[in-house]
Amino acid sequence: MNLFGYAQQFFDAPGRWSGADGIPQRLLEHVQYSAVALLIAMVIALPVGLLTGHTGRGGNALSVLATAARALPSFGLLVLLTILMGLGMTPVMVPLVALAVPPILVTTYEAIRAVDPALVDAARGMGLPRWRVLAQVELPVALPLILSGIRSGAIQIVSTATIAAYVSFGGLGRYIVDGLSQVDYAKVVGGAILVAALALATLGFFWALNKVLVSPGVRRR
């Protein structure tokens, strides 16, 4: 049977669209895990990236930190934390957050650094206080790049949140993990398609966010 056949078999299966193991419920769980992880990552990475970018200090420390976080294997971290702490949400969240922090942190730092120094000079010269220079000049100008960093973190979280199922949580990974253990390929394929679709939807969401949040004067560049 080919992928298309598996997919059809999966989506046509009875009870697939309702109940605790139905697609809507699993999708919701997946989005919840992803959103929480992304929010935590943003709360950690955005302020640090904005401040280091604004002051221009700590760039090297930042890149070492980002490399280290990137080098941590998400799946290994999940297993390790589960063994150490038992089943729970923390072992799931830590690897997901660790995954999204480096791209957000590094792009935010670099986006702020890349803002034309003449703009900052003009803003200070007009008497904007430092926080206003950051919030009203550097941030809006750097926003497209910053959003691209958050987007890449979000995509990685969405596609990796499948690992939650490995330690008996829900989400779309449930289909993949269950399918593997039950040798039910249709389920695995169906789960994978759903995750990929959700990742694409995330791309679309950020595309729309970009349209709404970024000034046309900056987007055009």
Binding site: A118, L119, R124, M126, G127, L128, G217, V218, R220, R221
Partner: protein, 377 residues
């Protein structure tokens, strides 16, 4: 008045950007800081709005040390224009201009009305108000930069090489615009440039700085040209400062000859009557009196077919300088400059010798030093 009092700026690496500089910058006039790169002119400007803090000395604004005021309040009371305008790309033209008024708490509609008024003042079409900076030409962006600096009507305007990134024709337009705005508003302008011509054109006072941030000379431009303080200033002014100095002498006293001018429909008798012994040519004008070109008087009077020689360009009598008159004479194939009135009608011509005499006369009344060397050589 801005008083720069024995100000020094030394950086931690030991370089001295500004060295015990003392300047009094008069109100309601344009003071230009000019000099080669590394002379500390930009640093000096940036110390006035405390973008840079001096390591020694003090700066007084209307008698008060600028450090007495909160730094951002000080900056909001001084317009600031920089080289590439530094417009905020994420804000429209009108939002850019309204930045400081909004900071000062003006409501949106008042700031907007003020922005539109300023766009007109700096020669921008108000239809551009909703555009973003990337949609403007370099010259337009710079105009927005000036409008933004003027928005809250600050008494002081600091300009850091504002026109050096645009092409010469646009730059000339911007300079003329600045002089026009200054004539209306009478701001205290401090203007930094590395272009001595720009300094002489715009400045009421010009401070020439040398490497290491020391003052070489501080004088009105005419004095700078006629009496450079030392060799450095003389070098910096360039080879033809004598010619440039002529920009400061008017043509109102220049003796004109009205004789050799005829209309294009003049009869051979009229042409003969207007021929003078000093030149074989007569100037032909159209029936309105506007100059068209020189022609050979004897041939014209004899009814022979003649062609018109170009007259170069005319100078406006009483308004243009002796430099323009001399230039007109040099460029004319006959050696005679054509003077026109404000409406562009030819009112007389002047020979090179006449202009040279006027130059000698002007120098005799003004300057003791040898500033005519360039002209007579």
């Amino acid at each position: 008045m801005i008083v720069i009092d024995a100000v020094t700026k030394r950086y931690p690496d030991g370089t001295t950007a500004v060295d015990r500089l003392t300047l009094e910058i008069p109100d309601r006039s344009i003071t230009v800081l000019v000099g080669p790169s590394g002379c500390g002119k930009t640093t000096t400007l940036r110390m006035i709005n405390r973008m840079v803090d001096p390591s020694g000395g003090r700066i007084l604004l209307d008698g008060h040390d600028i450090r007495e005021r909160p730094v951002n309040a000080l900056r909001r009371s001084m317009g600031y224009v920089i080289q590439h305008a530094g417009l905020f790309p994420h804000r429209t033209v009108i939002e850019n201009i309204a930045t400081v008024p909004r900071l000062l708490g003006w409501d949106r509609s008042r700031a907007r009305a003020r922005g539109l008024e300023l766009m007109e003042r700096v020669g921008l079409d108000t239809a551009l108000a909703k555009r973003y900076p990337y949609q403007l030409s370099g010259g337009q962006q710079q105009r927005v930069g000036v409008a933004r600096a003027l928005a809250a009507d600050p008494p002081v305007l600091l300009m850091d090489e504002p026109f050096s990134a645009v092409d010469p024709i646009v730059r000339k337009g911007l300079q003329d615009e600045l002089l026009r705005i200054q004539a209306d508003l009478g701001k205290t302008v401090v203007f930094v440039t590395h272009d001595i011509d720009e300094a002489i054109k715009l400045g009421d006072m010009v401070a020439v700085l040398r490497e290491g941030g020391r003052l070489a000379q501080y004088a009105p431009p005419a004095e700078l040209l006629s009496a450079p303080a030392d060799e450095f200033v003389e070098d910096f002014l360039g080879a033809d400062r004598g010619i440039r100095h002529l920009s400061f002498f008017g043509t109102e006293g220049l003796e004109l000859t009205a004789e050799p001018i005829v209309a294009e429909d003049a009869t051979t008798e009229q042409v003969r009557a207007h021929t003078i012994p000093q030149t074989p040519y007569v100037l032909v004008t159209d029936t309105e009196g506007r100059p068209r070109g020189w022609t050979h008087a004897a041939d014209r009077a004899a009814g022979l077919p003649t062609e018109l020689l170009p007259y170069g360009h005319a100078f406006t009598y009483g308004q243009d300088s002796l430099r323009a008159a001399l230039d007109s004479a040099v460029l004319s194939p006959t050696g005679w400059a054509v003077a026109v009135d404000a409406e562009g009608r030819a009112i007389g011509v002047a020979a090179q010798e006449t202009i040279a005499a006027a130059i000698r006369g002007a120098h005799a009344t003004v300057g003791p030093r040898d500033s005519v060397r360039g002209v007579l050589a």
